[in-house]
Amino acid sequence: MMTKQKVTLALMAVLVLGMSAGCKKKIPPPPPAAPAPLPDNTAPGPKPAIGYFSAEPTTVTVGQPSSLRWSVTDATSVKIDNNIGDVSPNGRRGVYPTATTTYHLTATGPGGTSEADATVTVSSPPAPAPIPTASQPTIQEILAKQVQDIHFDYDKSEIRGEDQAILQGDASALKTVFQMDSNFVVTIEGHCDERGSAEYNLALGDRRAAATKDALIALGVPGDKLKTVSFGKERPICTEPTEDCYQRNRRAHFSAAQ
């Protein structure tokens, strides 16, 4: 507000000066000052013209510079906000915005004020997976990346507390899959580590796949889209005799049904 008041006062001063300069002969004491004219058209002198005010590039990552360039004529002062302040009518200035910033240029001249904006968009590094709706992940990508294995304790088929979050993520991803293709069917494979007997493990893998299916149904995934099969210990993903490998193999895994 202060700035506007100052501008108004300045304008009035300019008018008074102009009027007194225009008079050749003495006249009686002036009447009260006329109201300030509207900034455009009525103001004497041309309004400042902003040739251009641009940022190049318009999109940067944090820490990268963008160059503001402008060209203004008929202005007595040119200001840019965001702590840049007064600048010359023609110029350029490097900026390092940390977030998307719109720079506001104000050119003030005898004929009035002109304003322009230039926006620098800041993206955060590294660029995340493209969100644009143009490239939705495919069903296969969702199955491979978003539907994660559920893991189990030795000789157990109950879903553990720490796997509940994974299960919920799987449920929402599977719902997305079935929304994308109502005919798609997912197979839940039950697997075991190599230590138990192959025979017992076939039945144990069956329990793990079934327990996973039941838990997903409870989370709203349509059960008729889920098949189960046990591979016991016939299809391990690793064969080292370590607890880490045993744990990786005690799992329910999701694949596209044949």
Partner: protein, 460 residues
């Protein structure tokens, strides 16, 4: 002491040793002490036969050494002169009082004396006769109480085979079987072993002769085909295959290598078939009712499906008592980790047989239905299985393997004296065979990874 007593009674049971042993001419073998048998190398006449005798001799020695009924006398302890025909022995007896004493060997007494101390002597020779390989094989007791050579001779037989290695092996198996039959040993000749091998790149069902020869592939599904079992009549192999995408039961004729009909219940798994002694019914595990796999009984083609167990926990590996057909053992999670249980054919009168410690799995009945062999981790880490034998009545156990890798899937031979099993002593599992007392272990396979052996009765 307990183990010792058990091993004695166990040997009596499986070897059909003392009580039923056909004692030769009043020779008494003290209980539990194995008779010592000497069989020197046979020689042959002709052009081809001599080269086959090495095969014949090594096969006889292998068969006798891998038998729990006798102790095979090391050849280094044999007397210097080797009799080949009964006439040699007759000459030896005649020269008994000659001066100076003849080089020992032609008298039966020479074989009974130290250092040989043999109780029995097998002699003979090979020859060619009209394009056939012929062996004359004799067997004598060395007992000093029998002075008549005729009486001392247990048998004398002629064995013929083709004039090649196979013929020599065949003749040797028959001669060794005749010797073992003197001590209650049942011949394994003609019996085969079905097993699983991945040597083609995927698990398929294979079959071989009981001595490891003639290994050939039965299934070609390029899937996972495993868990074989065989009907007691020796005609049908049942297994579980993923050929249709889900573990399902499949039957093959061992006579024609062709698929036989089997109706699989709609279930996420049907597996682990055991035949009744008459080969007309099967018990297997199925998830047909949902929940954990339970035992069901059905006709041999899968029809007439009826539930046996309703435990709510995993029930796998049913094995019907091959002698009585009145009860079965299985592996169940009723008490937590898998244990061996016994129940009747209605699924009731359930008793746990294994001790409850560790994991007990892979039960296999002895042919007489008195013992089971099984794999047990006992006090060891999960997966560290060894083969044990249990007297089903007393629950006494005897450990047959130790510090020899992971040992699983024991299966009794039809003679009740041998056990075939899978031993993993590195990256690959192989099929091994041993005497039912844990002695005489030797491998039958070398190529690929081989597992889940099942001994097939010679076809009846």
């Amino acid at each position: 002491m307990r183990t010792f007593t058990l091993s004695l009674s166990f040997l009596l049971a499986v070897g059909v040793a003392s009580a039923q042993t056909q004692q030769l001419n009043g020779v008494v073998i003290k209980g539990g002490e194995k008779p010592i048998v000497a069989v020197p190398d046979f020689r042959a006449t002709g052009t081809t036969a001599p080269s086959l005798m090495a095969v014949f001799n090594s096969t006889v020695q292998s068969d006798l050494q891998s038998s729990p009924q006798i102790k095979f006398l090391p050849k280094t302890l044999y007397p210097l002169r080797i009799p080949q025909v009964p006439a040699d022995l007759a000459a030896g007896e005649a020269a008994a009082n000659a001066r100076p004493a003849p080089t020992p060997g032609y008298r039966l007494a020479d074989w009974a004396a130290a250092p040989a101390n043999a109780n029995y002597l097998g002699i003979g020779y090979g020859a060619e006769d009209r394009g056939l390989f012929v062996v004359f094989g004799y067997f004598y007791t060395t007992s000093a109480t029998i002075t008549d050579l005729q009486q001392a001779q247990a048998f004398g037989k002629v064995y013929t085979g083709s004039l090649d290695q196979a013929g020599a092996v065949d003749a040797a198996h028959h001669y060794a079987a005749d010797i073992l039959a003197q001590f209650g040993g049942q011949s394994l000749i003609g019996s085969r072993i079905v097993f699983v091998s991945n040597r083609t790149g995927s698990k398929e069902i294979w079959v071989m002769n009981w001595d490891g020869s003639d290994q050939h592939q039965i299934t070609k599904y390029n899937s996972i085909s495993t868990f074989p079992s065989v009907s007691p009549d020796g005609h049908i192999v049942a297994f579980t295959t993923y050929a249709s995408g889900y573990p399902a039961i499949q039957l093959f004729s061992l006579d024609t290598n062709r698929k036989l009909p089997f109706y699989n219940q709609r279930a996420s798994m049907n597996a682990f078939v055991s035949f009744t002694p008459d080969s007309k019914q099967v018990v297997f595990s199925s998830t047909a009712a949902g929940g954990a796999a339970q035992l069901y009984i059905a006709n041999a083609d899968g029809t007439g499906f009826r539930r046996l167990t309703n435990s709510g926990v995993i029930e796998v590996e049913a094995k019907i008592n091959p002698k009585t057909g009145l009860d079965l053992v299985d592996v169940s999670g009723r008490s937590g980790l898998p244990q061996v249980y016994k129940m009747n054919m209605e699924g009731t009168d359930v008793q746990r047989l294994s001790a409850g410690t560790g994991e007990a799995t892979n039960p296999s009945w002895s042919p007489d239905g008195t013992h089971i062999a099984f794999a047990w981790t006992k006090g060891f880490e999960p997966g560290n299985y060894n083969i044990f034998v249990m007297d089903v009545i007393t629950r006494d156990t005897l450990q047959l393997t130790a510090n020899e890798g992971r040992n699983e899937n024991p299966c009794w031979a039809p003679d009740g004296a041998h056990i075939v099993y899978a031993s993993k002593r590195g990256a690959q599992s192989q099929i091994w065979v041993m005497n039912a007392d844990g002695t005489g272990k030797h491998p039958l396979t070398q190529t690929g990874s081989n597992e889940k052996p099942v001994w097939v009765n010679a076809e009846k």
